[in-house]
Symmetry: C2
Subunit: 403 residues, 2 copies
């Protein structure tokens, strides 16, 4: 039902603008505004990092008190590690926008990404707000996707169009950053919007589940940012009765489109990871639970030794088995584990697969897209995560990076 569209489609009820506020680099698009039609439903997921940045704290507070009307996003400064002064600064930006746009301050949610520990240049941001408000338009997704970039090498924006009971529904989203590849710069931000009408509680339930299986399933180095946020807006501008019942048959159709788009954007973050030379799918199947499948998948995806082997296109099944073996899975019978790389059976029965040759392994590891499949033969649950390799460039970028 959900089909990919090359075109980026406007979402009725949502307008965007991207302007240059000169926050860090003069002339660069660094301030992005999203305006939500009145009555929009909003769902949010934020970083689980205990050190969450000031804008995350303010956004959480504001969400508790009223329905959002504006998302105010700046790059160049994360307003993180800034303590109480950071919260005051974030609030000052919200208040300036609220006054100009004549809405309640709590209906503005702030998002920041950029350097940590520097004071937010509040007046640069507030000075640029009139221009941002003036430029709001529903076709500004591409500019906005560029405006939220930090060290991303390309904007990440895409759309889906599908039908719910004969009504055409549009879903468009954008994202930036790749986990903590460059932690002072690369917060993960995602903003998706649809013109479908969905009750807020149901939308949050749906979004939490989709994020768990998309943005939360990509990992570059296991670090999470202090500023990560993923937002979903349902403007309700489409002419159809609101989806409010969890048993509504339209819900699975919407869910599939959402999941498809969120996953495309999340995977684009991994593909754009600096220093990444491989795009790696780690699938763990036949597990007793999804939790243990995830535990094995993440242990593989975060193993520096597996990741350096991937960089070297080395079918190092010893490192893969060792990673599987140290995952926290009770009573794992290693003699039942099967390991395939791009379809080639590499290991089984506790060791190298019978008939496997290094030549086969080298051929399997050569492509830029690697599919690692682990069968545990313990049950019927599975989980997949996506990651990249560990390259010289990863070390170079992260060792050399200073603002």
């Amino acid at each position: 039902m959900a089909a990919s569209n090359a075109a980026v489609l406007p979402v009725a009820g949502l307008r965007l603008a991207a302007v240059s506020a000169g926050i860090k680099t003069p002339g660069r698009l660094d301030l992005v505004l999203l305006e939500l039609a009145e009555g929009s439903s909003v769902a949010a997921t934020f970083t689980r990092n205990a050190f969450c940045a000031a804008p995350v704290q303010v956004a959480r507070d504001h969400l508790r008190s009223t329905a959002p009307r504006y998302f105010l996003v700046n790059t160049g400064n994360a307003n993180a590690g800034t303590g109480e002064a950071g919260r005051v600064d974030a609030l000052a930006c919200c208040r300036a926008l609220a006054e100009t746009a004549a809405v309640a301050v709590e209906s503005v949610l702030p998002f920041s990404t950029g350097v940590i520990g520097e004071p937010l240049p509040v007046s640069a941001i507030t000075d640029a707000l009139p221009a941002a408000l003036a430029e709001l338009a529903d076709d500004q997704w591409p500019a906005a996707a560029e405006g939220i970039m930090t060290t991303d090498t390309r904007p990440k924006v895409a759309s889906r169009q599908f039908e719910l009971d004969g009504v055409t529904i549009t879903l468009t989203g954008m994202a930036k950053g790749a986990g903590m590849i460059k932690p002072n710069m690369a917060t993960m931000l995602g903003f998706l919007a649809t013109d479908a009408a969905v009750a807020p509680g149901l939308l949050q339930h749906l979004w939490s589940d989709v994020v768990e299986h998309s943005f939360n399933r990509v990992t570059v180095d296991g670090d999470t940012s202090t500023n990560d946020a993923a937002m979903l807006v349902a403007t309700g501008a489409a002419a159809h009765p609101e989806i409010a019942d969890p048993a509504d048959p339209r819900l699975p159709v919407l869910r599939e489109a959402l999941q498809s788009l969120a996953l495309e954007l999340a995977q684009a973050l991994v593909r754009d990871g600096e220093g990444a030379s491989k795009f790696v799918t780690v699938e763990v199947a036949q597990a007793a639970s999804e939790a243990e499948a995830l535990e094995v998948a993440y242990t593989i995806a975060h193993s520096p030794l597996v990741k350096t082997a991937l960089f070297a296109s080395d079918p190092n099944w010893g490192r893969l088995l060792a990673a599987i073996g140290r995952a926290e899975v009770a009573d794992l019978d290693v003699d039942r584990v099967e390991l395939r790389i791009n379809g080639v059976l590499i290991a089984e029965a506790g060791g190298r697969a019978a008939g496997y040759t290094e030549q086969q392994g080298a051929a399997a590891m050569a492509p830029a897209e690697i599919h690692i499949q682990v069968l545990l033969q313990r049950g019927e649950e599975s989980a997949t995560v996506w990651t990249s390799d560990l390259s010289y460039d990863y070390v170079r970028i992260n060792a050399e990076y200073r603002t």
Copy 2:
């Protein structure tokens, strides 16, 4: 009480030999034999990796049935990922030694380190056993420490001498490998021996606790090997009444010496880690429990972003705070966290410390020995782990390494 000695001291009741069996590299010392006096107590800790190698499985079995008389250690081949054939091969080596030495096969424990997935060259090993038995002597610790090396750049062996109620006690130990720096080659093995007389159950209790606070507190990349083992022998050759009561006042004295030596050897593994340019102590104090202190310490020690910053001598407090924040600690109040690097207060109250300058931070990060101290201000528990940085060489070594 425990004093470090530059000299490596023989331990009465324990003889060693190191010979060349030509397992992988002709002429290289690659087979090490330890002979334990009859009546010795033995304590063991093995890898927690579910994919434990054949020798680990055999050693565990043998320990259950009788007191060990010989440790047979080979390098050049890990006998891991070899399935049932690997167990048969390990047993064959034990049996050959048992027959020649006229002991029960179960009193021989095998240990292997080297390449994974290759069949163990059993006859090369058994052919070298007579020479090994003939060369057994109590002063062969240095040769044995060299014989168990794989990619280690230097042998790791040291002694302690101390008194228990007026009786001079000797403690000597050796270790090899650094976690999974080179996972196909670098199993962690540790062998310590003392002439003290300690009841087996008490010795195991003591050893498990010491290993938990030494070998289990060093980490290079979070990976654990399929072959890790740490053994403690108490020969009882010293002329003193056996320590059998947990309340024996001699026990803390023995424990301190053991802890000191085990930690020295464990830290030597980190210092010898290939690609390591920094030796990093991560101390987390004022935690509500030792478990949460360890969780924070390991999250810091395993963060690739922290490790690349260490490589770059970059006082990147944002990465450190982010690592602390994503540790799984319930209700962490980040505004109470204090972070020091080599004594310099870097961060407090959720952000950069007042008065902290980048110059101070750069000076603090310049030395090769870095002490990261985190105060959580939640309680009185603490934990310390030791690790290294993440360098170009780490990637080079682990990407280029193939047998």
